[in-house]
């Protein structure tokens, strides 16, 4: 080989790698409206900023080398809104992006660099699982699996965001579950095994969408945070999520230029219905409190009795946990407990202060709640709140009862508690308490007098007088109150960085 021929050889190899699994497969994807693995990277990063690692990598198996450009997993670095990030993009056109010896090293490299240098990782998920037959047999298993004990270790040093953009089995599902945020294109599938394997193993025909489609994950599992119609929308969601995150857990999230209050800020008090028994949608109150257009809700169709949303307040990133009386009157069920616990871990791990908006009659009770392990879920949620070291501010909008009073930041479980003037705080609803304390039946003459007495005792002024809440504020004062207290409660001693006591718990939602 002459010196002159070497550049041609390099260019030939590069061109082959960039052609991915070939024009026929790529054309079929285009017809279906799906982006290819390289186009996804282009749209994720600022133009021209992608810098690839391992362009010329291929399978270690000689017979597969020619048909494994980049070995099916494209990795590297780029910038998102000028901030550095890393990417793993599964190329389904190359042997179904199956996991192999070479591409396993590529993912390991990206994770090591991202963790050590403090940059987020984006995973574009679409993969078939372990490469066959390489992983078959005892020698195959011993060669392909288990060499890296940190492979599925998650310590939340930097934010991970995953997109489910096709069939996601094997590594794509595991990295989605290890990620801090996930978005799914409707029509994609997220499951442990493919329908064809399920059919062979269980003699059960199952439709892919039933097995792992978006509705399952939106409403039943809660494993995925957001759902979109196109690859482009998924990429926009990943970029938006990362705009709320710091590059790593040793710094604060980036501050945005304050956009001013949302619509209805002045009329926020009118969003609360006049009668205590009427329901309302707390998302309207959140939209009025937070900066204009700053909300990014996670798991909106799961555990709907609570809302968990990223937001900005005067440009500062916050996490809001709110009861939503629109669903089941805001009574906290086990799905909501899981959702809130996961959100508290996210915010605390990445130095995001928390705001709790409280209006709940308590935890859902009854046989179904017990079967769903309500006591354990309630304590996971409670312990998570106790372990948060970011600032926690709570506002009782209307009702706070029982154990849920503590879970929603009551007493010293948040740094500052405020209440709106009409709020009521007690151990249980006065109607029930009158029967338990006095034994009066609702139709007895004594019941109404005893009820009035109980209701008067629930007023916020009683708890304000003994300094177990720090302020009673009008609804329209809430935004300024929170902005001012976020200034006071900045983590000055550690430059905005918390202790991350839950950085490794729980791994998945």
């Amino acid at each position: 080989m002459t010196v002159q021929s070497q550049p041609d050889d390099l260019e030939r190899r590069r061109a082959k790698a960039l052609a991915m699994g070939g024009e026929a497969k790529l054309a079929r994807r285009r017809e279906q409206g799906f982006l290819d693995a390289r186009r996804r990277i282009e749209l994720l990063f600022d133009p021209g900023s992608f810098h690839e690692a391992g362009l010329l990598s291929t399978s270690v198996t000689p017979k597969d080398q020619a048909r494994t450009p980049a070995d099916g997993k494209i990795v590297g670095y780029g910038r998102i809104d000028t901030r550095e990030a890393a990417v793993v993009s599964n190329d389904f056109t190359v042997m179904g992006a199956s996991s192999s010896a070479t591409n396993g090293k590529k993912i390991g490299h990206i994770k090591r660099v991202a963790t050590q240098r403090g940059i987020p990782i984006v995973f574009f998920g679409e993969s078939s699982g372990a490469r066959m037959p390489d992983t078959m047999g005892a020698r195959g298993m011993g060669t392909m699996l288990g060499a890296d004990p940190t492979q599925y270790q998650r310590m939340r040093e930097t934010p991970w965001a995953a997109a489910v953009l096709g069939d996601c089995y094997g590594s794509s599902i595991w990295y989605t579950c290890c990620s801090d945020f996930s978005v799914m294109r409707k029509g994609a599938v997220l499951a442990v095994s493919s329908p064809s394997l399920v059919e062979q193993a269980l003699s059960e025909t199952v439709d892919p969408q039933t097995l792992g489609g978006w509705q399952l994950h939106a409403e039943t599992t809660g494993l995925v945070d957001r759902f979109v119609d196109t690859d482009e929308e998924a990429i926009a969601a990943l970029r938006k999520f990362l705009s709320y995150m710091p590059g790593h857990n040793g710094e604060s999230p980036p501050r945005a230029v304050p956009q001013g209050a949302g619509a209805n800020a002045a009329g926020i008090g009118q969003l609360l219905p006049p009668r205590r028994t009427q329901v309302y949608d707390v998302r309207k109150i959140i939209a009025a409190l937070a900066d204009r257009d700053s909300l990014f809700e996670l798991k909106p169709q799961f555990g709907k009795v609570a809302v968990t949303t990223l937001a900005r307040l005067d440009g500062q990133v916050i996490g809001i946990v709110a009861n939503n009386p629109l669903f089941k009157g805001g009574a906290l069920d086990t799905d909501a407990c899981d959702k809130i616990t996961s959100f508290l871990v996210l915010c605390d791990s990445f130095n995001i202060p928390l705001v709790l908006l409280v209006d709940t009659p308590g935890f859902s009770i009854g046989p179904e709640a017990e079967r769903r392990r309500a006591p354990g879920k309630i304590m996971n949620f409670m312990n998570a709140l106790s372990l948060c070291t970011v600032p926690k501010l709570s506002v009782i909008l209307r009702k706070s009862y029982g154990q849920a009073y503590l879970n929603m930041g009551g007493g010293r479980n948040s740094d500052e508690v405020a209440a709106w003037p009409g709020a009521e705080i007690s151990f249980m609803d006065p109607h029930f308490a009158v029967r338990i304390v006095h034994g009066h039946q609702p139709d007895s003459p004594e019941f109404a007098d005893a009820l009035r007495e109980m209701e008067r005792d629930n007023s916020v002024y009683g708890i304000a007088e003994i300094f177990s809440i720090q302020a009673v504020i009008r609804p329209e004062e809430t935004r300024d109150h929170l902005i001012r207290l976020l200034e006071v409660h900045q983590l000055r001693r550690t430059k905005g960085v918390g202790e991350h006591l839950m950085r490794a718990w729980p791994t998945s939602f």
Binding site: V279, K328, A331, P361, G366, D429
Partner: protein
Amino acid sequence: MAKLAAKSEVSGSVWKIEVTLGQKVAEGDTLVLIESMKMEIPVIAEQAGAVASILVAEGDAITEGQSVVTLET
């Protein structure tokens, strides 16, 4: 024309029926109010339609997931 069952998301008792047979409703309208946990929990029309049947009476005890109204959509 399709039939759509509106279901209660909570166990409780039927407090008020807000619609009558044949009435046209819009998406998001309240059909029935359930009293549960001392709150008025609405059963809402998920789509616009006309009330085809009312399956409960005021005061009835109902369970989570029970159909209370069917809509012709």
